[in-house]
């Protein structure tokens, strides 16, 4: 497909850009296949705003046209007859009228661009025709479905090469590094051609005594083939975190000997294990009607099931929409702000995620038992709490590199469907399909931990913000596709650059590191009281004045630490 067929107007002069915190500026707007570029040429300096079209969540058009009476009547009648409901249809009508009669030359249009990273820009474009062309290009190009046409396949920065290693680690490397687990656990390549579980990586870690034939049978008994695999080994006591999807017990309580055997092999000689089900027990019961289910006490008698209801899917997406709406409310009515925040329920989702992760870590670290985590599909809340629990318990996940490796393992390789979940964000008018801000919720939870333990994490808030942006629209291929299989099929690892590698480049690394980092071997237990949890200002209020002062303060801390380091050396 040629991008040019979607670009009727590529350049417009004399466009006015309005964005928060900046005075309006006049310049040239340019639309390319992947970008919106606005450049100001002033006598002394030139400024540019470069925006990935993929980052655009929604646009709103408004025409400021000196329309003649007859046009208005036509318009009115048309809109009356077709009972249009919104701006889009309205401006569509106007464009027809505009084309028929060239009387509207003095007109102009305004496009409001709402981005997935919550930035809002406004462009005043002279000439209605041009305005509508630009808007149509943005609408089409911002949500192209074809992955191989997305920008990461075209992004070629000069300082990194496609020959560089893609990604930071592999399941093989993970296994080799964990010497302690090798006598009881093995690396299985049963999924090497993705036929056993399409959403798993080709290699996974499973109990030593369970052979590949058993795994194949277990996979048939678990939704999407996601049989229980090891995701974390706790060095202090040899306990593990396993994750999977729900068992397909169905209405007539089907059993699977191999599944029971596998879980038995996980516990080995220990007296019991825990299953943390991220659904309420009622939801788990209901899942049986549609073929899903849970591990019943009678069949898995050494496993104790704990149910924690975690919101997912649409409910989470709607919560994000509400919290963003509350943050964007400029009515300055203090009266309602906190109530709005509460009603969005976003912070209560943060609380549930952190407390469930805390429960998981408690089972492993304090009780000394192994845990299996799953919800239904095992690709959302399951990953959320296994990641957070590792951050709580394992100091090696708290370095900049360690955290990225954790994300790569638990989200990218483990098959979180980024493409579906991050197709749209809080501003979109599109009908919701598979969108859900689970990854954003993870980043918010990590931020809460970061705030409560300012010295314990090796990375900065800037990293979390970067990840929150890149998951939705990126120059890099890391968050493309829904699984390892899809990435391989499209050659993502050969034809795009890796975000994690880019973040670790020497110059970038400093920006994404926490200057105050002091490693601790201890577990870090976040407080989950509502009064301990705060709105992630850095993200939700990112484009407001307030955040700027916080950034200044962070910069000041960095400088002080650098100065102090110099003094200590001399």
């Amino acid at each position: 497909m040629e991008f040019s067929e979607h670009i009727k107007t590529a350049n417009v002069e004399d466009v006015v850009l309005r964005q928060p915190l900046h005075p309006p500026s006049r310049g040239t707007l340019c639309i390319t296949g992947h970008h919106l570029l606005f450049s100001v040429r002033e006598e002394v300096s030139s400024r540019q705003v470069l925006l990935l079209l993929r980052n655009i969540d929604a646009i709103e058009k408004r025409v400021n046209a000196p329309i003649c009476i007859s046009c208005l009547i036509t318009l009115f009648l048309k809109s009356f007859l077709t009972s249009v409901e919104n701006l889009f249809a309205y401006s569509g009508l106007i464009s027809n009228a505009g084309r028929n009669e060239s009387r509207i030359s003095g007109s102009s249009g305004t496009i409001t661009i709402k981005c997935k990273d919550l930035r809002v820009l406004q462009l005043d474009i002279p000439g209605m025709e041009q305005c509508l062309n630009i808007a149509r290009s943005i609408e089409t190009l911002s949500c192209l479905d074809c992955v191989s046409e997305m920008y990461p396949f075209f992004y070629r920065p000069s300082d990194i090469s496609l020959q560089d290693q893609w990604g930071l680690s592999t399941p093989e490397k993970h296994y080799t590094q964990m010497k302690e687990l090798q006598d009881r656990w093995r690396l299985s390549t049963v999924n090497k051609d993705y036929t056993v579980c399409p959403s798993y990586p080709p290699a996974v870690i499973v109990p030593m005594d369970v052979d590949d034939d058993v795994l194949k049978k277990v996979a048939k008994f678990r939704q999407g083939g996601r049989f229980p695999v090891l995701c974390y080994y706790h060095r202090k006591n040899g306990m593990v975190i396993m994750r999977s999807s729900q068992p397909l017990t169905g209405a007539n309580r089907k059993r699977c000997k191999e599944d029971e055997l596998l879980l038995q092999a996980v516990i080995d000689t220990s007296d019991k294990g825990y299953i943390i089900d991220t659904r309420s027990s009622q939801q788990a019961q209901q899942a049986r009607i549609t073929g899903g289910g849970f591990e019943s006490k009678s069949c898995y008698n050494r496993w104790k099931r704990l149910h924690r209801h975690m919101e997912r899917g649409k409910a989470l997406q709607e919560s994000l929409i509400k919290v963003v709406e509350a943050c964007g409310d400029n009515s300055h009515n203090m009266d309602r702000w906190l109530s709005k925040l509460e009603n969005s329920k976003w912070l209560s989702h943060v609380q549930t995620a952190l407390s469930t992760a805390g429960l998981l870590a408690e089972c492993v670290e304090r009780d000394g038992h192994s845990v299996l985590v799953h919800g239904s599909e095992g690709i959302d809340s399951t990953l959320l709490i296994s990641t957070l629990a590792q951050l709580i318990m394992d100091p090696s996940c708290r370095t900049l590199e360690g955290f990225l490796v954790l994300l790569e393992r638990e989200w990218v390789q483990a098959g979180h469907p980024f493409q579906q979940r991050c197709a749209h964000s809080a501003h979109s008018h599109a009908r919701l399909q598979q969108e859900s801000p689970v990854f954003l919720l993870l980043l918010d939870c990590v931020w809460q931990v970061w705030r409560q333990f300012p010295l314990a994490l090796g990375f900065s808030e800037a990293l979390l913000l970067k990840l929150a942006t890149e998951a939705y629209a990126s120059d890099y291929g890391t968050f493309l596709c829904n699984s390892d299989q899809e990435r391989c099929a499209l050659g993502v690892k050969e034809k795009t650059h890796c975000l994690f590698q880019a973040v670790l480049r020497p110059l970038e690394r400093e920006h994404y590191s926490n200057p105050l980092y002091e490693p601790t071997e201890l577990a870090i237990w976040p407080s989950v009281h509502p009064q301990s949890l705060q709105l992630w200002r850095g993200f939700f209020l990112r484009w407001t004045q307030q955040t700027r002062h916080l950034e200044e303060a962070q910069e000041e801390i960095r400088n002080m630490v650098t100065e102090w380091g110099k003094m200590a050396l001399s």
Binding site: M334, L341, E342, P530, H549, E556
Partner: protein
């Protein structure tokens, strides 16, 4: 033997020691221990857990309440200390014939003024290397601001507090005005609190002027001298031909005040004057808001409704009103280069809040450790914020409607600013909390009494220690 374990301040003496007291901890249940009451504090040490100590100064106690304690046997009494600082520790103890009752001892020393005893600040004998009473020297502070200059003079007209008994002895007033005129203005302003300069912008010469409401009354009384006074204030700033009056009150309340002989400046009598109401509710509303806030946070928090409960106290809404009002004032000076007059009814509550917050926004000196002390000494203490009445130092009458947490509210606003501008302040949260602790403690003379005149009469500076001696040690 227990007495030896209680650390005492110089001048502090133990009044009674009671054994077998239960501290009813809201978090961990009952703690058994020994309670010592001195003339300054209540000191509880656990017999079981060595480390547990509860140290509550008596000044912080608002009222004592007997409570019922179930299942603790006969002769057991329950006691709740309702405090001014968001906590209410509870105790259970056995009554014994031979022992003076705990409540009596506590009452006497928590409320010394109601029992003809003196405040502990007069008994405290600590020596500090620095003298905090020297922190604020009005002449030096006005010199720092570049005063006097050709338009403003440092006046001794109130040196004996005859003109206004709640104002400081040193005032900055316009040069071109006679003492006779000032006396007429004083009669026209509530409590004789005439317009005086609080702060002058170093570049534009725009000023913050504070005063009380004009006594306009229902018949729209006028005072030529007052009108001329404001005209002179306007003229002192060559950059602008306007003057903005910020009346902190709700406009409806200002109208009610007019019926009661108070009021506000009419724009038709004061030329080129613009009047703005900041719509801030009165001290009674603030007291009620903080009371609700305490219910929300202590002893237990309803986790499911945390935000909406906080919302319903309206505390943050009032914080926002104050900060927004102060920002308007600061913006008028900074961007509009226009002088402002700030008043409420008496000019010692909301006026102090607004003028000091605006000064904190405009002048980085006040954001230093030392400068903040000067700001509090100047805008609050010397200008007669009624600390004794608002806090109720040593006074048993907890239901007195004069009490209100206006200074706490100001400190919350300061905290909000430190949070939004983390690199702009020299002091930290601990400093703000320490100041608030000693707002109640009566350990230092700094916040005692209602005015400079009262403090002079009670020899506060010679008989007690300044909080700043402790802070700056």
């Amino acid at each position: 033997m227990f007495q030896n374990q209680v650390p005492l301040l110089p001048g502090e003496s133990i009044q009674t020691t009671v054994k077998d007291v239960m501290y009813i901890c809201p978090f961990s249940g009952l703690v058994n221990g020994t309670l010592t009451i001195t003339d300054y504090k209540l000191y509880f040490t656990s017999v079981e857990k060595e480390s547990f100590i509860l140290d509550v100064n008596l000044g912080v106690i608002s009222r004592l309440e007997t409570i019922s304690v179930a299942n603790q046997g006969q002769n057991t009494k329950g006691l709740e200390l309702v405090c001014k600082d968001m906590r209410s520790p509870r105790f259970a103890y056995k009554t014994e014939e031979s022992h003076p009752d705990v409540v009596n001892v506590l009452t006497k020393h928590a409320f010394p003024l109601s029992h003809n005893l003196s405040l502990f600040a007069y008994l405290y004998k600590e020596q500090f290397p620095v003298d905090g009473w020297k922190v604020y020297d009005p002449m030096a502070e006005y010199r720092r601001q570049g005063l006097p200059n050709e338009s403003w003079t440092i006046s001794k007209i109130n040196s004996t507090y005859e003109l206004c008994d709640t104002y400081p002895s040193i005032l900055v007033i316009p040069t071109n005005i006679t003492d006779e005129d000032i006396k007429r203005v004083a009669v026209f302003r509530a409590k004789h609190r005439i317009p005086v300069l609080s702060w002058i912008h170093p570049e534009s010469q725009a000023t913050i002027v504070r005063c009380s409401q004009p006594l306009v009354g229902p018949s729209d009384r006028r005072c030529k001298e007052d009108e001329r006074f404001l005209q002179i204030i306007m003229d002192a700033n060559a950059q602008s031909h306007k003057l903005t009056i910020f009346d902190a009150r709700q406009s409806s309340v200002a109208d009610t005040n007019k019926a009661k002989d108070g009021g506000y400046e009419s724009e038709s009598f004061y030329s080129n004057v613009e009047l703005n109401f900041l719509e801030i509710p009165n001290i009674h509303v603030m007291r009620e808001s903080l009371r609700k806030m305490k219910d929300v946070v202590y002893p237990t928090i309803d986790e499911a409704h945390w935000h909406s409960n906080i919302d319903q106290t309206h505390w943050l809404e009032y914080i926002r009103l104050l900060l927004a009002g102060a920002a308007k004032i600061a913006d008028k000076l900074e961007s509009g280069k226009t002088s402002v007059v700030v008043h409420c009814s008496d000019g010692w509550d909301r006026t102090a809040q607004l003028s000091s917050l605006a000064m904190l926004m405009l002048d980085s000196y006040y954001r230093t450790l030392r400068g903040f002390q000067v700001l509090v000494e100047k805008e609050w203490i010397s200008f007669g914020h009624r600390f004794a009445a608002r806090v109720g130092h040593g006074d048993e009458n907890h239901a007195n409607s004069e009490r209100s947490p206006l200074f706490v509210q100001f400190m919350d606003c300061v905290w909000q600013m430190t949070r939004q501008f983390p690199a702009a302040f020299e002091f930290n949260e601990l400093f703000l909390i320490t100041v608030l602790d000693h707002l109640y403690s009566c350990l230092f003379g700094t916040f005692l009494y209602n005015s400079e005149k009262e403090r002079a009469a009670k020899d506060v500076q010679t008989s007690s220690v300044s909080l700043w001696s402790y802070i700056n040690r």
